[in-house]
């Protein structure tokens, strides 16, 4: 499903964020990515949907190498991956409904299907009553949930989430986790970078720990492994 071979990433300013990453993530897996701040977690996941291009190495998503992907094929690839960004990345001039609908408009869905699916996911993330609100009228947690709704609305085979519970109180965080559980049970691969020790330790899944741009630990049913 997702395979990285000897991936290196050096930012233009000289920061070496990834230093030789090798990983294989199978279809339907649920993977936590943990590690201290600045370890390279975000860079690691950004390479998967090509927000960042690795300096060296290859990344295969369902068999296609991202590094060799032509510019015009990138949009198609990105539609296969639902991304929940650390900074949400909602379109500021579009309301909640429109933000979520956008992911379906780009694949030219019919208005009928769009309406139905958007209301479905808004219901799922508990934001049906805020459909007409604009991002700057929402709390951090609500924006996060819009971002989640948008990432899952077109049923992508992979969901990548960068700290999806970062801005949420423990209760909401667990509600969000329930959503991830659900979509994972449907067969969706989930890769989730997180600092949430509670969640990692109680909902046990594969844990990949990154430090200084290298994978230092990779265990099934792993622990968070850091003190908070």
């Amino acid at each position: 499903m997702i395979e990285m071979k000897d991936v290196w990433k050096t930012y233009p300013n000289g920061v070496m964020a990834l230093n030789g990453i090798d990983i294989y993530i199978d279809k339907g897996e649920f993977v936590y990515v943990v590690g201290p701040s600045g370890a390279g977690k975000s860079t690691f996941v950004k390479c998967m949907y090509r927000e960042e291009k690795p300096t060296k190495g290859s990344i295969l998503i369902q068999g296609t190498d991202l590094a060799k992907l032509r510019e015009r094929h990138i949009p198609k690839m990105r539609r296969k991956i639902g991304v929940i960004f650390q900074d949400f990345k909602l379109l500021p001039k579009l309301n909640v409904y429109e933000n979520v609908a956008f992911a379906l408009e780009v694949i030219e869905e019919t208005p009928k299907v769009i309406r139905q699916r958007v209301m479905e996911v808004l219901d799922l993330v508990g934001l049906k009553n805020k459909a007409r609100s604009f991002p700057d009228e929402l709390s951090g947690g609500e924006q996060q949930r819009v971002s989640i709704a948008r990432s899952i609305v077109n049923h992508p085979p992979v969901i990548i989430a960068d700290e999806p519970t970062g801005n949420l109180d423990p209760e909401t965080a667990w509600e969000i986790m329930d959503i991830f559980k659900q979509i994972n049970e449907r067969g969706t691969t989930v890769v989730m970078a997180t600092h949430n020790k509670d969640i990692v330790n109680s909902f046990k899944k594969r844990v990949i720990a990154i430090e200084g741009g290298r994978i230092v630990r990779d265990e099934q049913k792993g622990e968070y492994g850091y003190e908070v």
């Binding site: 001039k93 780009v106 030219e108």
Partner: protein, 297 residues
């Protein structure tokens, strides 16, 4: 692209125009101001050009003929003149007609010449009009070489100076209008660029969510076009109604003079189309050049 997607792009463009209210307003204002300048300037220039053409159009060559010339030679002469490539028409004016015209043009004083009717001192003449007024002097010197031609008269000296003046005026006008249009393009595209610059993040996000460049571009394309076209509305109204009013006022005053302003129609219609096209194109151009920069995510 599916038709419902095109519909979506139109809806998106108009939504965005509304939600970016102030930015849209700024862009439309920039277009309005510059097109107003272009429009007014064009009206002035076209009229000056028209004026120059009217004056130039009055230029004609008079070729006076020796009294000894026979009737058949007249015909030969006329034919020869008509065959000069740049000549438009050759008219014969008998000495009687010539005198009549002279008396008329002199008004009261002319009456003194009435007595000359019996011993008319004027020779017969051909009046030659060239296709382009600027060719007058070359055609004149050509005709001068012919036999039986006593004298050629076309206002030598004055006419050359007139053409020099109108020629320079036309070129200056052309340079000014081109300069003005470029300034307009620069100003408008800069304003539109600013509005889209503020949407750089928006475009990046769209790309990260899987939108193709074309998908992102369409609404901006429509938006730019609508902005430009909207900006042309006031200038068009000003040109149409302003000129109609001005035309009425000025032509009343100019009643006695031989020059006239350009008729209101079709000029204002042509100008309106031109302003609308310039507005629309500049709008599209401005938004497309700005979007292009951000599409490389």
């Amino acid at each position: 692209m599916k038709s419902r997607t095109l519909k979506r792009h139109f809806a998106e463009a108009f939504k965005s125009l509304g939600r970016n209210g102030w930015m849209s307003f700024a862009s439309v204002s920039a277009v309005t101001v510059t097109l107003l300048l272009v429009g007014v300037f064009l009206v002035v220039l076209l009229n000056l050009n028209h004026l120059a053409s009217q004056i130039e159009g009055d230029v004609e060559i008079r070729a006076y003929i020796d009294r000894t010339t026979k009737q058949t030679e007249y015909n030969d002469l006329q034919q020869k003149m008509e065959q000069i490539p740049n000549v438009n028409e050759v008219k014969f004016q008998s000495k009687e007609d010539g005198l009549q015209e002279l008396i008329k043009s002199l008004g009261d004083e002319g009456k003194a010449f009435s007595s000359l009717k019996n011993e008319n001192p004027l020779p017969d003449a051909f009046i030659i009009k060239t296709k382009k007024p600027q060719d007058t002097s070359t055609v004149a010197s050509e005709i001068e070489k012919y036999d039986h031609i006593k004298k050629v008269d076309y206002g030598q000296g004055t006419v050359e100076r007139l053409f020099k003046v109108t020629g320079v005026a036309r070129n200056v006008g052309l340079v000014l209008i081109v300069g003005l249009i470029f300034t307009a393009m620069f100003l408008i595209s800069n304003t539109i660029k600013l509005t889209i610059l503020s949407r750089r993040k928006e475009i990046e996000i769209m790309k990260l969510v899987g939108a193709t460049n074309g998908f992102i571009r369409w609404p901006y394309f429509i938006e730019g076009f609508v902005l430009g076209l909207t900006g042309a509305v006031i200038p068009i109204l000003v040109v149409v109604f302003g000129y109609e009013f001005l035309h009425g006022q000025v032509n009343n005053q100019l009643d006695t003079v031989f020059v006239k302003l350009l008729p209101v129609y079709p000029m204002v219609l042509q100008l309106s189309v031109m302003l609308a096209v310039i507005g629309g194109l500049i709008g599209i151009w401005g938004s497309m050049t700005s979007v292009r920069k951000f599409l490389k995510v």
